[in-house]
Symmetry: C2
Subunit: 447 residues, 2 copies
């Protein structure tokens, strides 16, 4: 009790709720208010006087000290990560400065003006019908997805989409999920948090070795553009994985995180169209618009719709309607397609410059993966280690990541960097490339 | 395999992807494409011809039938609920037509124009600093909460706030949580889904009987305005529950869902201010603005911040930034306070009219609860049952709910309705009241 009172008083002083020199209630008054012993209050006051938070003056009671002790910093996951880099070539983000603010605002205005009042209330856990209808058309057109609106569940980004799926699969008895041997480690955390085991599939130049899929309930794949290695899943393997799903009643989860961005040809359509009852299609606005929107979507086999919708309702009832209505309007008016086309051109040029620049300065280095997406894999020459290059880049103010950050297998690989050429704003792209080339020009240090 | 092919074809016809009269590939071509036996394809085709989906014509192959069988309706939790009522007096929603669309849009414009590019990226799982700073000031001013920005975690509504808290408590070893005997049943589902047991506290005219709290890890309370019974927690009980928390290291979760709306006096400040290290304050924009926004916030004891932030990051990384930035701007410019004041006046008038109207037409009926919030409890006279009145109202196009919908105890209560007088739009309020009075005027039918 006394400790609690002390903590509460420290906090009040620390946050300024009790400002310097403020007078505290007498120990008798406070003890009556809180219905605790007067001695307890007196002892707490004495302790805080000893610590320097309070000052006791004979005849005028207890006051907050003029100078309070150094405040304890409340730690947070995010605060720990804040390191300032001048340049950032880490993968996973589009150019945030390219967010189409005025188009978004115009669409938001039209959406808000036109929305029925009920749109502001609790709505279908699958999301607003306006957005599910717009997405069904868009996904069919742009990605070949077989997407009826009633099969779509809008989620708060892929993170939530995948988390809800894992919950549902586990509740139905699934015990294991297979991912590609390279990918986001947060996906592994999601699977294990749901109580399932994780296996991994090797990846070669034709994508994941799906012929190695055996006893597993579901497979999370990035067929259009393996993340982060960069291959497309070969046609024969697309067929193979569908055969596996049909034969074993396994579920394929197709993470189509950047399927809109292919530069050398028309993008390969979604795997989902081959077998919509065996594949969950997972899409997102995080790469086309911005991760901060937290908008993602699942296109589900009929047998999963109700369970995923129920899991979504339990998690947060539904995703924010205003963003949903705005995106629906942006898609319907053609603004979304225009934005994607503009970004495709911009990122394609960046990739071309990245490849050309490297070829000029370091012709011995290989850029791996198809011409697609927002990142590429850069193989390092013999003698370099990823950690050493990443550390060297950090000292030059450039944030990059090694492939090891995405590895989920014991098999080692030739050292490589995952370069997110889409991440910097336009004005910083040239500088970021120059910094990267300079880092690669340095002679390797012995590990 | 054959069943899968059949399902896929049915689906393609059903959704119109294969339109009426479309010609299907030959069984040989399809068997090669899918690398399955030709017989399997032929059998699937034959089955679907038998079911009426396809038509086989000698010499011209297999086609989609002109008339397809009646489509199976994909069920969904929401679809099942859609019953059209002319009037709605159920509790839980503000007047959705009062959402301040133009103020919100203006704030969104200023927020979007002024936001740094990094705001569109992955951000602190606790939420944007702009909103946490604005809320810290607002909650201190409006609700007496001791809220430093670093203690706030923005969530997607109270549903997610409470879900994350339950997860964190369970992971730390908590096994039981206590709620009030009347409240939302979804809260109970959340507790049990997290793997904890639920106890309940009786509620009398001075609020929850917190002196009955014993061996439980946490208590979820609605101190400012018990939901749905309508009492405020008495001053002595406020002290008592804090003493319980301090003495047993228990956690109080203060669900302040409508604390801004008090009509007869200044609202009682948040319980949290008495012991910020023992109380989690949970607030929401669902009643002040709109549930569709899915914006809620937790003000946390220091020892819970990191775990809740980590749970939030795992769930969906963070809440949509655009809504956060807009609400921050709306609070900072004073628009939020103005809107709350306007709504307080409007809802107060509605409550007064509701009470007056009932008094005139049915003086024998008692309206219970303090003059606050968006709902009131209406005791039914002897001889009525809740179900019978609710059904009678439904037949007259009026949606209402009985108190039983919120009961989590075996103890029966005198029949009562929970009336959400804030729910209808202004133009429908008079009609809704008239309909309610008419329903109550009907003689009771024997159950």
């Amino acid at each position: 009790m006394r400790a609690a009172l002390e903590n509460a008083l420290r906090e009040a002083v620390r946050t300024g709720r009790l400002p310097p020199a403020a007078r505290l209630p007498s120990s008798r008054a406070l003890s009556e208010d809180l219905q605790i012993a007067r001695n307890t209050v007196a002892e707490a006051y004495a302790q805080l006087v000893g610590e320097g938070w309070l000052v006791a003056k004979q005849g005028s009671g207890t006051h907050v000290a003029g100078q309070v002790p150094a405040t304890r910093q409340v730690a947070s996951p995010a605060a720990a990560e804040v390191t300032r880099f001048r340049y950032d070539l880490r993968a996973g983000s589009p150019d945030l400065s390219s967010f189409p603010r005025s188009e978004w605002l115009s669409a938001a205005r039209r959406a808000l003006v036109g929305a029925p009042a009920e749109a502001f209330g609790y709505t279908d856990p699958r999301g607003r019908p306006e957005l599910r209808a717009a997405l069904a058309g868009y996904l069919a057109r742009a990605r070949g997805v077989r997407a009826a609106p009633e099969r779509i569940v809008i989620c708060s980004g892929f993170t939530q989409s995948f988390g809800l799926l894992c919950q549902v699969l586990r509740a139905r008895g699934a015990t294991s999920l297979t991912t590609e041997a390279y990918g986001l480690s947060s996906n592994h955390d999601t699977v294990t948090a749901a109580g399932m085991g994780v296996q991994t599939l090797r990846v070669d130049e034709r994508g994941a070795l799906v012929e190695e899929l055996t006893y597993t309930d579901a497979a999370l794949l990035t067929p259009a553009h393996q993340f982060p290695l960069g291959q497309a899943l070969a046609a024969a393997r697309r067929t193979q994985v569908i055969q596996w799903a049909v034969a074993t009643a396994g579920l394929v989860i197709e993470d189509d995180y950047d399927g809109e961005f292919r530069y050398d040809r028309q993008p390969v359509g979604a795997l989902q169209s081959l077998a919509p009852e065996h594949v969950v299609y997972a899409g997102t606005a995080s790469k086309t618009l911005a991760p901060g929107l937290r908008l993602g979507w699942l296109v589900l086999p009929a047998h999963l719709i109700d369970d995923v919708a129920a899991a979504k309702a339990a998690a947060d009832r539904h995703t924010s309607v205003l963003d949903q209505l705005t995106l629906a309007e942006l898609i319907s008016c053609g603004g979304y397609d225009r934005h994607v086309r503009r970004r495709r051109l911009a990122y394609r040029r960046r990739r071309d410059r990245f490849v050309a620049e490297l070829h000029r300065h370091a012709p011995q280095l290989r850029v791996l993966g198809i011409a697609a997406g927002l990142h590429a894999l850069l193989q390092l020459p013999q003698g370099h280690t990823e950690n050493e290059v990443v550390a060297r880049a950090a000292r030059r103010g450039l944030a990059i990541e090694g492939l090891n950050a995405y590895r989920h297998t014991d098999q080692p690989h030739q050292p490589a960097l995952v370069i997110g050429y889409a991440s910097p704003p336009d004005h910083a792209f040239t500088g970021a490339l120059a910094r990267l080339v300079a880092v690669l020009d340095d002679p390797p240090r012995p590990g």
